[in-house]
């Protein structure tokens, strides 16, 4: 990056923010999704899952990569979205888009309330609080089995067609495009956000919180806003999950899921928006191949991978690629 960037202001118009620093390769993930859809029809349901998890990981990137908050409880908002969407559908509100919007609002509300406490703490107390939120919601869902189905998960979700036309089918085609559209829209929103003055103040907080306090930035409020937005997007991912699979497992609120999505994001790289697009497909496709035979070994290698990333490859695959790229350029 040039030194000039440190002195420039964020772009003013919405279009400029959307296209700020845009590169041709940024079309790749979307092209890859479309190509994959036509090349591997048998895998479309898994691709749908990948899109949803990518959205989830993208929302986590806002918290981890842009706010610099270590969270082990992001599943709390995903699960809130999933259970809200699922429960609404079970009780008759089956129109997908308004259903998802309501689920997002619920997740945002939970994110706002819990974030208000979490963001007051520092260091490892934050980590613990995020974990406590997830465990608490998990226990609540587990003990209110009359409504949530408890350990068996929430069944009987029946969605109306998207826009009144596209039925969710067993091939997962509708689910795929529905999730792709949601992910694309969310990505546009996130890109606008991180290139706005708001997003720049988040980066400032991440890089030097003391200085941001000093120049009068309302740090706590900014972080809470970002946290709430991230929770809403996580809730959307959960809602999509509930709608497309017509089932909500208790796992949606678990520490395991929080850990998994964090690992997916780490593999790709944090704070780059595209980390989610790399890490999630790699993780899910590898898991699909390897873990079905031996789940215990899967976690063994995941653990080793995490330790290796922390010790030798901080920043994940994208950072590694960027470093190699820089070296090649400086050699040339």
């Amino acid at each position: 990056m040039s030194a000039l960037e440190h002195f420039s202001a964020p772009p003013r118009s919405l279009l400029a923010r959307l296209l700020y620093g845009v590169r041709p390769w940024e079309a790749l993930p979307w092209l890859a999704a479309i190509v994959a859809f036509f090349l591997f029809p048998g895998y479309v349901p898994i691709f749908g899952q990948i899109l949803i998890m990518t959205l989830f990981a993208l929302s986590l990137d806002i918290v981890v990569g842009y706010c610099g908050i270590v969270t082990l409880g992001h599943a709390a908002y995903y699960g809130t979205g999933a259970y809200t969407a699922g429960l609404l559908a079970v009780h008759g509100w089956s129109e997908p888009i308004s259903n998802a919007a309501f689920a997002m609002a619920m997740a945002a509300l939970v994110g706002f309330v819990t974030g208000a406490v979490i963001l007051r703490a520092h260091g490892f107390i934050t980590v613990m609080l995020t974990l406590a939120v997830t465990v608490t919601l998990y226990e609540v869902a587990n003990h209110t089995g009359r409504w949530t189905g408890g350990d068996d998960g929430l069944r009987g979700i029946d969605m109306a067609p998207v826009l009144g036309r596209f039925e969710f089918d067993i091939y997962g085609d509708t689910a795929f495009f529905y999730a792709l559209a949601a992910l694309f829209l969310s990505f546009v929103v996130v890109r606008l956000l991180v290139n706005s003055p708001f997003g720049w103040s988040l980066k400032g907080i991440r890089e030097n919180i003391g200085r941001m306090h000093a120049i009068g930035c309302p740090v706590y409020r900014r972080l809470l806003q970002a946290y709430t937005i991230a929770a809403a997007l996580a809730g959307l991912a959960g809602a999509l999950q509930a709608q497309t699979t017509q089932y909500v497992a208790l796992r949606a609120l678990s520490f395991d899921l929080s850990g998994d999505v964090l690992v997916m994001l780490i593999i790709g790289g944090i704070g780059r928006l595209y980390g989610a697009f790399i890490g999630v497909p790699v993780y899910i496709l590898a898991q699909d191949r390897l873990a079905s035979e031996d789940p215990a070994n899967w976690y063994f290698w995941m653990g080793i991978l995490l330790i290796v990333i922390v010790l030798f490859a901080r920043g994940g695959m994208l950072a590694l690629a960027a470093r190699l790229w820089d070296r090649r350029r400086s050699d040339a």
Partner: protein
Amino acid sequence: MGDWSVLISIGLLGVAYGMVLYLISVGLSITMGLMGFVNLAHGVFAMAGGYVTVTLMNKYGVPFFAALAGAFVVAAVLGLVLERTLYARLYGTSDFDQVLFSIGLIFVSIAVVRHFWGPLTQPMRVPAYLKGVIPVLGRDFPSYRLFLIGFSIATIAVLWVTLEHSRFGAMIRAAVDNRRMAQSLGVNTSRLFAQTFALGSGLAGLGGGLGADILVIAPGYPIQYILYFMIVVILGGLGTIRGPFLAALLLGIADTACRYFWPEAGAVFIFILVFVILYFRPQGLLHRGRA
């Protein structure tokens, strides 16, 4: 109502539970205060101690106390090796890297344990002379729990005396208060870290073995109980040994009471309470030193 022997029973069970929590967590409190390392994987050492204890006793017929000693030694050595090879490389890195590393370690430990012992819980077979019940104030009380309280108190007394009156303890306390100052006075902090880490891990292993019938030994152990260990450390304050003792007893009694009077709520009540406490005291209940 009015039957306050129930309360005594809850109190005693809670104290036994709190003792186990304290033995496991005290090492975490010291190492976190000393090195500032966010070690979410501390439960791994307690789990190791638990597995060593039940395996030595159930499979090889090793006497109870020898098995406990084995749990302490194995967990301490494991802690020492991991500290020297991995943890030491990550001192001073971000919380984020330390959390990720801890999760990695938890994943590996769970996979290893599941590979060798399978997914089922390991039963704790209490030795015959500690079985049965002892009447306490008109209620029958499991004698193993009473033994557990006594044994823990003895261990804790030894620990406290060591840390308060030995050179080793003085060095630890000095390094917690001001690491640079201690270093410039000639304390070999890197060796001190390793020793402390090993001691903390060993105590966790002892706690894991001793409390194997309270905190059930199964592959999910490090994740399942991590919040309890963290709560003890957070409420008790980092780098102290008395704060966590109070916090562990409080948590043990409160959790036991909760499960007795309001079983369907599970652990929710405790977490909400912690949430409320931390909202008003973000630095912990008995905060001392740097966080």
